[in-house]
């Protein structure tokens, strides 16, 4: 079933909308949430909350693409839960990914006040546009979907080490790009 048909079901207030949404995007939503939270129970709760969020906002919204809309909700809910849940060990893919990304940015507090997330997102978008497709997809799978390096390596037929090296080089490029754009790295 394509996205527009699923959204039509939401507009009709049909409960099949949730079932079809889950059938089409449930796996990737669960994967994102599990990568952040590190446990299936919390992830399932976040995914269900995201479905509820979609139910409450569609209509009036008619998001396109639907995947991104739902996944963003899942990601945000999962990160919020991660921070709220002090029992979570600091060993999820989320932490690993954060550790890697941290090197791309300055530690200077002055930058923080000047920086808006939207502006940084725009710069990262521009940076991603300049990458070749494979490196771009690897970067987004690692730092948006929080996929493990091993899983990414498997998909691209790379060794884990080779995938790590590619991601490292991309982060270095990002670091240089952000510096060029005015960040004091």
């Amino acid at each position: 079933m394509d996205d527009s048909q699923i959204i039509d079901l939401f507009f009709e207030r049909s409960q099949r909308a949730i079932a079809e949404l889950s059938k089409k995007y449930g796996a990737v939503c669960s994967s994102v949430s599990k990568n952040i939270l590190g446990n299936s129970l919390d992830a399932e709760e976040c995914v269900n909350d995201a479905y509820l969020g979609a139910w409450n906002t569609i209509p009036p919204q008619r998001p396109a693409p639907l995947l991104t809309y739902v996944c963003r909700i899942v990601r945000n809910l999962s990160i919020a839960k991660y921070h709220a849940n002090t029992a979570v060990k600091r060993n999820s893919f989320y932490d690993e990914a954060l550790d890697e990304l941290e090197d791309c940015l300055s530690s200077a507090d002055t930058v923080e006040s000047e920086l808006k997330a939207e502006e940084l997102a725009r710069l990262i978008d521009q940076f991603l546009d300049a990458l070749d497709k494979q490196n771009r997809v690897m970067f987004v799978q690692r730092y948006w979907y929080l996929e493990s390096v091993a899983a990414i390596a498997q998909r691209f037929g790379l060794s884990a080490n080779s995938a790590s090296v590619r991601l490292f080089r991309t982060r270095e490029k990002l670091r240089r790009y952000l510096k060029k754009e005015g960040f004091d790295v």
Partner: protein, 304 residues
Amino acid sequence: MRREDISNAVGNISARHIQEAMPARAVRKKVHWARWGTLAACLCIVTIGIGALLSADRASGLPNKPSVAPPVVSPTQSVQPETGSVYYSQLQLPKGRADADMFAAFSEMAVDLVAFDESMLSQCSAILEGEITNMYLKSYSYAVADDKFGADTPLNYDTKTIVYEMRIDHTWYGDDNTGDTILIEDQIIFPDETFALKVGHKYVIPIYEVGEAIEPHSAQVVSGNITRDSALSTVYPFHPQIEVTQDGGYVVSTDWATLSAAQGREIIVDVDMSEYGEFYKDKLMLLTRDAFSAQMRALMGELF
């Protein structure tokens, strides 16, 4: 700046990048209920069967090879277009199907897929054409240091690979080792008996050097042997490899964008396939040797 800030920024990147990078849904090979019902009873039989298979293969030597002349790669200024379709069952392919035991060994495997793209070939060390003369399973059991369940409690792993012996008839890219027999060791078998690599069949396979050891994780291996039989692996084992017919044609999937740009014949797949094979049933074409050669040379010129 807090590190969460950049995470938030990455979280707000454009939908087009998120959509593009969406990992394909996990897919799992269907296992018949009957297999579950008899799984326990069959476990030892399968184990014995694989052992017997390996013994038999090694004892009998290499199987007879079909009389297929190696291709002559000659420059062509123009490619004669071919029209019309051909049924898969009419292709001049050697008889024989994939070994059921091989599939049983990998039946629990789940993978996420990213579609093949010719740019993936930039990492390959060679593109070889040749005949699969033998294949066997290899098992690895090893343990890695891990403190997940407390100190001194290593995590144990069991995994399998499939090793192909390939006699090289032609080298499309890389050092020319025509006439040699090499080993290619993969951690996945394409889960469709029509398109999986088979002994006695000829293929064109891009390979790369994956290293001397199975890479479990970055953790330290504390027991077991993780040395591979071959440091070479198939670049993209998740789609049908290019198969060479006995009359010199090339069966190419259309995700080879450059190769499939040639005028070829559509292949109508009229044989039973798994759900994985079904994906490619309308994505195969038959190229003549000249057309394949011209397109492959163009692709090599573009990539290397």
